[in-house]
Each structure stands twice: as structure tokens, then as C-alpha cells.
């Protein structure tokens, strides 16, 4: 199938889905709407809302009415009033990036450390499995309690999600270095430090990057869920505010913005991945 046909078919799926939504919410069939506006809003309303949110920074979701104030762009301790959708996006982005950076750094460091020390890894194994099995959402209120309503409670939630993905991948990457490559590197005369740089590190990174889509996605999920459960800013907060006033259009608008936001970030991740994993055969590099 060529590219154009594929794109057309993909667009067709969207058209059909939006069409059903539109008919269900705006065209009465037998006197009733099978997707009542109150519960489902309408595609036109949602599109208009998204448009006004972005086009006119002073029109805020729910009750935010202050004009754009760039100096306060990331002053997130201020209440919702005064925050444009751009600020909410930026805050979610910052939280997601911080969660990813901290979670990935910790995952790489501890993954390496445990993979190179089998005894320690055996000791910690049950605890790591236990922590990983814990549904992270239950931690959100604790982080709120510990770290307050600001960005750090959201970052912490994202970190607990990102850490384990990166950790398991790096651990695996170090453990699964081909014995032949390792023996060859030793025979070429590499010492432990050189082995780390030229063999363990690239192998672990390749495993980590193959899970990059998942871990970046989880960083954003952590941020949004954290905002949803208690905050004064961010996309999750925006959606939660709209829900609080039964503003279905606002909820759907928030979801659309979130979906597009994640798509754009995912596209950046793909770009980075292509650059970093050029050495991989195409079949293996595309997995995520």
C-alpha cells in the first residue's frame, strides 16, 4: 500500500468517527439524540473551544479570565486565574520532561549497578518486583502530602512510572550483551572502564531507547494524572476543572489537546530514536 492511500484511509477513520459523533449529538433521530449533548458535547463545539483556547489567550477554560502574562508563564503557584492553555501545556511538558529525566537517570544508574552486582540484584529482586507491581495511582495522594500541590508531586509520580521501565531495560541490556562481543572486546585489550564505555553502555542504551516511546508516554501520564488528582495548573487540572462544572465541551477539548500534544512529543521521540539507533537493522529499530 502506498503512502497516499494509507493517509487517506487513516483520515477516513477520523471522518467516520467524527461523523457518527456529529450525527448522534446534533441530528435528532426519532425525536431523540443517541449521543446527548450534555454527556457527549458535539464535534463542532469541541473544535470551536479548542480554537478559542489557542487563538485567544484571554479566553480560558472554565473561569480563568486574566490576560496572558508571559512573566508569570511558569509561575504555577498562582491559581488557575491567569493561566492560558499555553501555560497549562508548558507546565505539563515541564513536569513530563523532569519526570523522564530523573526517572531515566535513576533507572540507568541503578540498572547498571544491579546488573554488575548479581548478589545485590538477588537481594533487591523481590522488593523491586513488589514496587513495580504497585498501582502507581495510589501513590499520588502521598506525593501530594509530601511534596505539595506544585510540580514536584507530579514529577514524583511520573518518576515512579518511568524509572521501572528504564531500569528493567537497562538491566536487561547489560545482562544480555552477547558473550561473543564481550569476549572479543576483552581479547582486544579493553579494561573494565573501556568495556563499560564501548560495550555495556551502548547495549544498555539501545535497550533503553527501544522503550523510549513507552517511557516518555508514561512520564506524561504521570504528570496528567497527578494534576488531575490535585494541582493548580496543567492539562490534567484543566480537564478536572471542566469536569467539576459539568462542562463536557471543556473535558473533550482538554482530551483533544492532550492527544495532539502526546502525538507531537511521540513524533519528536521518533526523530531522536532514528538518530541514535542508526546502527540497528531497520526491523529491530522500529519497535517501541
Amino acid at each position: 500500500m502506498n503512502r497516499v492511500t494509507l493517509l487517506l484511509l487513516q483520515a477516513l477513520v477520523a471522518v467516520v468517527a467524527i461523523g457518527i459523533w456529529h450525527i448522534g449529538s446534533s441530528v435528532p433521530i426519532g425525536g431523540t439524540y443517541f449521543l446527548p449533548k450534555f454527556f457527549f458535547s458535539t464535534p463542532a463545539d469541541v473544535a470551536t473551544r479548542v480554537w478559542t483556547l489557542f487563538a485567544d489567550g484571554t479566553v480560558k477554560i472554565a473561569t480563568c479570565t486574566e490576560p496572558i502574562d508571559l512573566t508569570r508563564l511558569i509561575n504555577i503557584s498562582a491559581p488557575c486565574f491567569g493561566k492560558t492553555v499555553w501555560q497549562h501545556l508548558l507546565i505539563t511538558l515541564i513536569e513530563g520532561l523532569l519526570a523522564f529525566a530523573i526517572g531515566a537517570a535513576a533507572g540507568v544508574a541503578i540498572g547498571f549497578w544491579l546488573a554488575r552486582h548479581p548478589l545485590l540484584s538477588a537481594i533487591f529482586d523481590p522488593y523491586i518486583k513488589m514496587l513495580n507491581a504497585l498501582p502507581r495511582v495510589v501513590l499520588a495522594p502521598i506525593f501530594l502530602l509530601w511534596l505539595g500541590l506544585g510540580i514536584w508531586s507530579k514529577v514524583a509520580l511520573g518518576v515512579t512510572l518511568v524509572f521501572f521501565i528504564v531500569f528493567f531495560n537497562v538491566y536487561q541490556g547489560v545482562k544480555e550483551v552477547s558473550p561473543a562481543i564481550l569476549a572479543n572486546a576483552r581479547m582486544l585489550g579493553m579494561n573494565e572502564r573501556q568495556l563499560f564505555r564501548n560495550v555495556y553502555w551502548p547495549s544498555a542504551l539501545s535497550w533503553m531507547f527501544s522503550s523510549l516511546h513507552t517511557s516518555v508516554g508514561f512520564a506524561i501520564i504521570g504528570a496528567v494524572v497527578g494534576e488531575y488528582l490535585g494541582s493548580a495548573a496543567g492539562l490534567g487540572y484543566m480537564i478536572q476543572q471542566a469536569e467539576g462544572t459539568f462542562d463536557t465541551t471543556g473535558v473533550f477539548a482538554g482530551m483533544v489537546i492532550l492527544a495532539v500534544f502526546v502525538l507531537i512529543i511521540d513524533w519528536f521521540v521518533t526523530l531522536i530514536e532514528r538518530r541514535l539507533l542508526v546502527w540497528r537493522p531497520p526491523s529491530a529499530a522500529g519497535q517501541g
Binding site: R186, L188, R280
Partner: protein, 280 residues
């Protein structure tokens, strides 16, 4: 001490030490249930400083195991290995090892894979890259320096491996079925490439193969191993074919056929034994 014994010892001191010398080497592998599997027993073998020795034996007899011992990657259960007369402890620093499996780093380009051999020894990167390019040229890959291993054919990857090992200029070259997975034509081309490179300075070579013709075409001596368990050396044949040789043309010589017939008679029985074990 008797006179004869003393005489022998002085003679040994004056004779140039063998590059590799297995001295009563045996290797047992621990297997499940606390038992052990005697892979190789009672092996004595000397490889001279400028000698090309091939080891031929049925699959699974312990050829790779023996090379790992020579490389110092594996310590023998009994006996010892001498490298230029000194007992081997740890890795064999005077040896370069071309592995049976692909062992170049998939995350480095061909040129970087060759250059890294020098860089880890302290050569500046610019110089290492320049010399790596020279070696890539020597193995016929000058246009492929920027390719990653997955963009090369199996034969090209082996050449990268060869350049990676030879650029360090090791005194001893250990090769484990290096051309094993390649097709017949490529094997002969690689054989000639190896002979050309070897002729430059005649390193000591211990070359493992399951292909008797290849062994005779390339080497000065062909050593036959028996089928395992408890594999050992059961034959040692000097190959008196003239050098320089062409790895494919030498196979047409009558002397080649005589040698092949004599050695094959011995090897056949062992190969059949190995197959019999697999079938049973």
C-alpha cells in the same frame, strides 16, 4: 640429575620457545547434578612462532574449547598453557582471536570497530582512524568504512573482524572457524586474503576448521582431534605443499590429494563416531 636430562634442558632453553604450547591440557565442564563432562583430555600441542597450524575435528569435539584455553578465556582443569615459554595466567595478551560467532560491535561503524583496537591501547583517535582505513583497504573494504555491521554481508563482517584483530599486530592469531558460515567461493577468497596477510610477517596461527580441504590448503600442519567426550589429538600431519600458495589452485595438485586421502582416512572414523553419538 643425569647428563642426558641436563643436556635436554639446555637444548630446550636454547630452542626458540613455541608461541603456544599445550602441556597435558584437559578441560572438564561442570554439568547439572554435580557431575562433570570431560570435553578434552591429555592434550599436548606446540605451535611454532611462525607456524600455521590447523585443528580439524568433528563438530562438538572441543576445538573452540581448546582455542579459548589458548586465549586465556578458559583455564584448563589440568595441565597448563605456555605462551612463548611462559605459563599463561589470565588473558593471552600476545594473541588476537577471531571468534566463530560475529563479534564486532554492532553499534560501531566498520572503521570505528577497527580503530577502537588502537584507541584502547592509547593511540590518538585521528591516527587510529587513519590506520584503520589502511587496514580496511587491505581487507578490501575501503569503501565500506562508514557502514554499520548490519549493512555488511557475512563475509564483509568477518573481514572487519580480521582487520580489528590484525591492526593490533598480535604475535599469535587464533581463528575459530572464521569462514564457517560463508559460501564456498567466499571461503576461498577469504583463504587467499588470509594467506596474503599471513605471508607479510608469518605470525603463529592456530586455525580451527571442520573443513579438511581448507585446513590442508592453508596450513603447515594439520592436527586431527577425536570425537568427544574426552577428545584428544589423534593425528599430526605436516603439509609439505610449497608456498606461496593459492587457496583454490593448490587443491588441484596431486600432492594435495595424497595428503587429503591420508588424513581423511583418519578423520572419517571420528566424524562417523560423532554422528553415531548424535543419532544414539
Amino acid at each position: 640429575m643425569s647428563d642426558r636430562q641436563a643436556e635436554r634442558e639446555t637444548a630446550a632453553q636454547h630452542a626458540p620457545a613455541a608461541a603456544i604450547s599445550f602441556d597435558g591440557v584437559a578441560i572438564d565442564f561442570p554439568v547439572a547434578g554435580g557431575a562433570s563432562y570431560p570435553a578434552v583430555t591429555r592434550t599436548d600441542l606446540k605451535v611454532g612462532a611462525h607456524e600455521f597450524v590447523a585443528i580439524v575435528g568433528p563438530t562438538g569435539c572441543g576445538k573452540s574449547t581448546l582455542l579459548n584455553v589458548a586465549a586465556g578465556l578458559l583455564a584448563p582443569s589440568t595441565g597448563q598453557t605456555l605462551v612463548f615459554g611462559a605459563p599463561l595466567v589470565g588473558l593471552n595478551r600476545s594473541a588476537g582471536y577471531l571468534f566463530q560467532q560475529d563479534a564486532v560491535m554492532p553499534w560501531k561503524t566498520a572503521r570505528d570497530n577497527v580503530a577502537i583496537s588502537l584507541e584502547i591501547a592509547g593511540t590518538a583517535r585521528a591516527e587510529a582512524l587513519e590506520r584503520a582505513q589502511g587496514w580496511l583497504k587491505r581487507v578490501g573494504l575501503s569503501a565500506f568504512g562508514d557502514r554499520y555491521p548490519h549493512q555488511l554481508s557475512g563475509g564483509q563482517r568477518k573481514r572487519v573482524g580480521l582487520a580489528q584483530v590484525l591492526i593490533r599486530d598480535p604475535k599469535v592469531l587464533l581463528m575459530d572457524e572464521p569462514f564457517g558460515p560463508l559460501d564456498a567461493q567466499t571461503r576461498q577468497i577469504m583463504g587467499n586474503l588470509l594467506l596474503d596477510l599471513w605471508a607479510l610477517d608469518r605470525k603463529a596461527v592456530l586455525f580451527v576448521t571442520h573443513d579438511l580441504e581448507e585446513a590442508i590448503a592453508l596450513s603447515d600442519r594439520v592436527v586431527i582431534m577425536s570425537a568427544g567426550p574426552s577428545a584428544r589429538i589423534i593425528g599430526d600431519h605436516a603439509i609439505d605443499l610449497e608456498r606461496p600458495r593459492d587457496a583454490s589452485e593448490v587443491r588441484l595438485l596431486p600432492r594435495f590429494h595424497e595428503l587429503h586421502k591420508a588424513i581423511w582416512g583418519q578423520l572419517r572414523a571420528e566424524v562417523l563416531k560423532a554422528y553415531g553419538e548424535d543419532a544414539g
